[in-house]
């Protein structure tokens, strides 16, 4: 295996608020390698976005990183190093691409801004490069689209522009936070195809955040499942789907309509995410977990290695599936 591009170790992060500390992330570790797409899945509020912001150094002032390390190609991201990497080496795209683009600036110019800021590209050449970038993300008729404002483009187009911007300086890592939420399924497929293709072409690493397990399943090489600020399970995609080990992952899968044949097959995850303020049990899934045993409440949760790069954070993982 190639050395990881991004590696995060033991990241623990709180938000200081009026109503106490929100323990948004605890002991999060993962890595992303070149040419690899890591999918991060989890319910809303599980800390996916916070994690990506932490990597980008875009956390707001209320955030307090308690411990952990983050390195990108050997550079410490917790220092000021990330400032020079942002947009050049690590780029990020967001959901609702229409609002994520500056509404009063031509999309071409927005790409140019990034190029001029990071690349040794003089203003003169920027335009040509921007059009190139648009073409790169398969935007038809890029010369004309260069002059378009975001509101003149469809959601899918906007997302491609965002990707073009993010990739303008050929970064090593692309983080996509729910890049297709709010887009039609048909458009979603196109955007995801594109990300997959770009990663394959350029050897860049990517993180795709989604709450759709199936989506992660189709496009990612590895999937990391998060629950309430914890990473509960990480595995290569193929393996994960054939061998769901964490009770949460299993329930999440069962709750996805895709996997159900009929309404009866659909199973809900009981309960809600715990309130991240105040005291928490070592296992944050405890109250929702059917397998909960008393030993779950003592000591730190182990990160069980269940083989083949598959790890589960649970005392009592589900039985391994037979006949894989």
């Amino acid at each position: 295996m190639r050395p990881p591009l991004l590696s995060v170790e033991g990241l623990t992060l709180d938000f200081k608020t009026r109503h106490g500390r929100v323990k948004a992330l605890e002991d999060v570790s993962f890595s992303v390698g070149k040419g690899e797409i890591l999918g991060i899945v989890g319910e809303s509020g599980s800390g996916k976005s916070v994690l990506s912001y932490a990597v980008m150094g875009l956390l707001d002032a209320a955030a307090d990183i308690r411990s952990g390390t983050m390195t990108y190609g050997g550079i410490d991201l917790l220092g000021s190093g990330v400032d020079s990497l942002r947009g050049r080496e690590i780029s990020m795209i967001f959901q609702s691409p229409r609002t994520a683009l500056n509404p009063i600036k031509k999309v071409g110019h927005q790409i140019e801004d990034v190029l001029v800021r990071h690349g040794p590209v003089p203003r003169r050449e920027a335009r040509a490069r921007a059009i190139e970038a648009l073409a790169h993300v398969r935007i038809p008729d890029p010369e004309r689209r260069y002059h378009a404002y975001p509101f003149e483009l469809s959601g899918g187009m906007c997302q491609r522009v965002m990707i073009a911007m993010a990739l303008a300086c050929s970064p090593g890592l692309l983080i996509a936070d729910e890049p297709t939420t709010g887009l039609d399924v048909t458009t979603q497929a196109i955007v995801m195809d594109l990300i997959r293709a770009l990663v394959d072409e350029s050897d860049m690493g990517a993180i795709v955040i989604t709450h759709d397990l199936s989506l992660a399943g189709e496009y990612c090489d590895r999937v990391m499942v998060m629950h309430a600020g914890h990473v509960v399970e990480t595995a290569p995609t193929g393996r994960l789907f054939s061998d769901l080990r964490h009770p949460y992952t299993k329930r999440l899968f069962a709750a996805t309509p895709k996997s159900a044949e009929s309404l009866e097959d659909l199973a809900a995850i009981p309960g809600n995410l715990p309130d991240l303020r105040g005291e928490l049990f070592p296992c944050r899934f405890r109250d929702r977990c059917p397998n909960h045993k008393s030993d779950c409440d003592v000591g730190p949760l182990p990160l069980l290695d269940v083989g083949a790069a598959h790890s589960v954070r649970c005392h009592h993982p589900e039985e391994a599936a037979h006949a894989a």
Binding site: P270, G271, N272, D287
Partner: protein, 292 residues
């Protein structure tokens, strides 16, 4: 599905909690709130606690500087400024509150009707508001007071009229936004007619934001009345009123009788200041993140 342990708070209790929170979270708002209460109390008991008859002239004590007998000094006719400031409080607050209440009520009505009905009603109301706005507002107020005569009612009326467009437009915009919202459509499927939808489902929701506007406007209304007084279109003498006292005092600015305009001016400024702070506080309450 878990049920939160917290007991269900009643609406009023919640509102009270919010207000308490706003007051104590932000010391400035607390200060403004106390000040506001003080003003209201003075407005009510002012005439009873004033050391002198605010209208009583005294030929032997004209333009006496602040002293133990006259803490705020006396004016040219020997009237006690402290008493006049105290007694004026009620009138000034009353006029401002009256004007704002009137503008608030009529403006909200017109605006929500325009927003709800649309079409020609909307057009007519909008044009009316445009017309008012196209006037230099202070001059319109001047004109109304000059034409109808300068008494309290007309000053209140004039101030209300120039305030009207703000409420009407605000209400219209808010109703327009909400008219499309799902809960309004839900109310309609729940059998609510147009008026009930408007007044039971929409208007209560825009009131809080409108209240913020109103509290900010109170200050403006006071300033406006003072401006009218300054150009001689205020309430009739000898009624004590801050604006008139300031503008009368202003003529002594170069002869050194500073107390004649400083004290009423201070009362005026403090009151407006207090309303602005409260408005800001309320705004924080209505929209904790977007304080402006």
């Amino acid at each position: 599905m878990t049920v939160d342990a917290a007991p269900p708070a009643s609406r009023w209790r919640r509102a009270l909690k919010d207000v308490r929170h706003a007051l104590f979270e932000n010391k400035v708002t607390l200060f403004a709130g106390v000040l506001f209460l003080l003003f209201v109390v003075i407005g009510i008991i002012g005439p009873y606690v004033a050391p002198y008859d605010p209208l009583m002239t005294d030929a032997t004590a004209s333009l006496v500087p602040p002293s133990a007998a006259h803490p705020f000094g006396t004016d040219a006719l020997g009237r006690d400024i402290l008493s006049r400031v105290l007694v004026a409080t009620g009138l000034d607050l009353g006029m401002a509150a009256g004007a704002v209440a009137l503008a608030f009520f009529v403006g909200t009505m017109l605006g929500s009707l325009a927003g709800m009905i649309g079409g020609y009603v909307d057009l007519a109301i909008e044009r009316l508001m445009d017309t008012i706005m196209a006037f230099p507002l202070f001059v319109l107020a001047m004109g109304i007071v000059a034409a109808l005569g300068n008494n309290v009612t007309n000053i209140v009326l004039a101030t209300a009229i120039i305030n009207l467009p703000f409420y009407a437009r605000f209400a219209r915009a808010e109703v327009n936004v909400r008219r499309e919202l799902a809960f309004v459509e839900a109310a309609r499927t729940g059998g609510n007619g147009r008026w009930r939808t408007l007044f039971v489902h929409i208007v209560p929701n825009i009131l809080p934001t409108m209240m913020v506007q109103a509290s900010l406007n109170l200050g403006w209304a006071i300033l406006n009345a003072a401006g009218l007084s300054f150009i001689g279109l205020g309430v009739r003498p000898p009624t004590p009123e801050w604006g008139i006292m300031v503008s009368e005092g202003a003529s002594y600015i170069f002869s050194g009788e500073w107390w004649t305009f400083v004290f009423p001016g201070a009362a005026l400024v403090t009151a407006v200041f207090c309303f602005n702070l409260i408005g800001d506080g309320l705004r924080d309450l209505a929209d904790p993140k977007g304080r402006t």
